[in-house]
Amino acid sequence: MLTILYFARLRDALLCSEEQLPEVANGRELIAQLVTRGGVWAEELGGNRVFRIAINQEMAQLDDAIPAGAEVAIFPPVTGG
C-alpha cells in the first residue's frame, strides 16, 4: 500500500490529510486515479491548478516511479521563507 499525504490549501480543499491506496507505477497514474473521483479531486488535480508531489520526502516529477510502500505527498507550490 502507498501512504498519500495532502498539505496546506490542497488538504483544506480535498478535506483529506492522509489515506492509504494500492500501489501504482508513478505519480501520473496516481493523479489520474484521484481525478476519476470527480468533484474537488478533478478540480484540484485534473485542471490547470499547479501542484507538486514528493516521493518518500523528496521532490519528484509525475513520471518518477513510486516504490512499493512509498509515502507520496501532494501539495501546492511551497511558500515558506
Binding site: 498539505f7 496546506a8 499547479v50 520526502q57 521532490m59 505527498a73 501546492p76 511551497v78 515558506g80 521563507g81
Partner: protein, 155 residues
C-alpha cells in the same frame, strides 16, 4: 561534500535571537565574512489588516530538504558555517520567520550562498503560509518570480 560540524538547521515554533546566532561563531578567525538574512512577517496590503501568519510544514521532509540545500551550497562555495532557523506555527506582523546565516573566509561566497539558500528554500522546502486577516484566511500563492530566481543558479 556535505556539511560542516558548524552547520545548524532547525525548524521550531519559538522565535530566535539573531545576536546569539552570530555570537555562536565568535572567535573563529577563518571566518572573514558573515551574511545574515532575516525574513519577517509583513503587512503591506493597502489597509494594514493582517492578524497573523500561520506557517505549516511537512515535518518528515522539511529537515531533509534543508540539509540537501545546505549540502548543495557547500559544494558551490567555500563555507565555514551555515545556520538556518525556520519557524512554524502562528506569528504576528513584524515577527521573524526565518534566519539564514552564511559564514565564509570570503565576502562574495557568503553573500551568494545566502541568496542561493533562500532561492532554493523558497521552492524546495515544504513550508506553506496562510495569512489570517481581519476579514479572511487565505493560503499564500507561490510566485513565478521565486521559481525564476532559483532557475538562474541552474544555468
Amino acid at each position: 561534500m556535505g556539511q560542516t560540524h558548524r552547520d545548524k538547521i532547525i525548524v521550531q515554533e519559538a522565535d530566535f535571537d539573531v545576536a546569539a546566532e552570530y555570537q555562536r561563531l565568535a572567535g573563529d578567525a577563518t571566518i572573514g565574512a558573515v551574511v545574515m538574512f532575516v525574513g519577517r512577517v509583513r503587512d503591506i496590503n493597502p489597509q494594514p489588516d493582517l492578524v497573523s501568519l500561520h506557517l505549516e510544514h511537512y515535518p518528515a521532509m522539511t529537515e531533509r530538504a534543508l540539509h540537501k540545500i545546505v549540502a548543495q551550497a557547500h559544494e558551490r562555495w567555500p563555507l565555514d558555517a551555515v545556520t538556518i532557523i525556520h519557524r512554524v506555527g502562528s506569528m504576528g506582523p513584524a515577527e521573524q520567520i526565518v534566519l539564514v546565516l552564511t559564514a565564509s573566509a570570503h565576502r562574495v561566497a557568503a553573500y551568494d550562498a545566502n541568496i542561493y539558500i533562500m532561492d532554493y528554500l523558497k521552492n524546495d522546502a515544504p513550508f506553506w503560509k496562510k495569512e489570517v486577516t481581519l476579514h479572511q484566511a487565505t493560503w499564500v500563492e507561490a510566485k513565478d518570480s521565486d521559481q525564476a530566481a532559483q532557475l538562474r543558479w541552474e544555468r
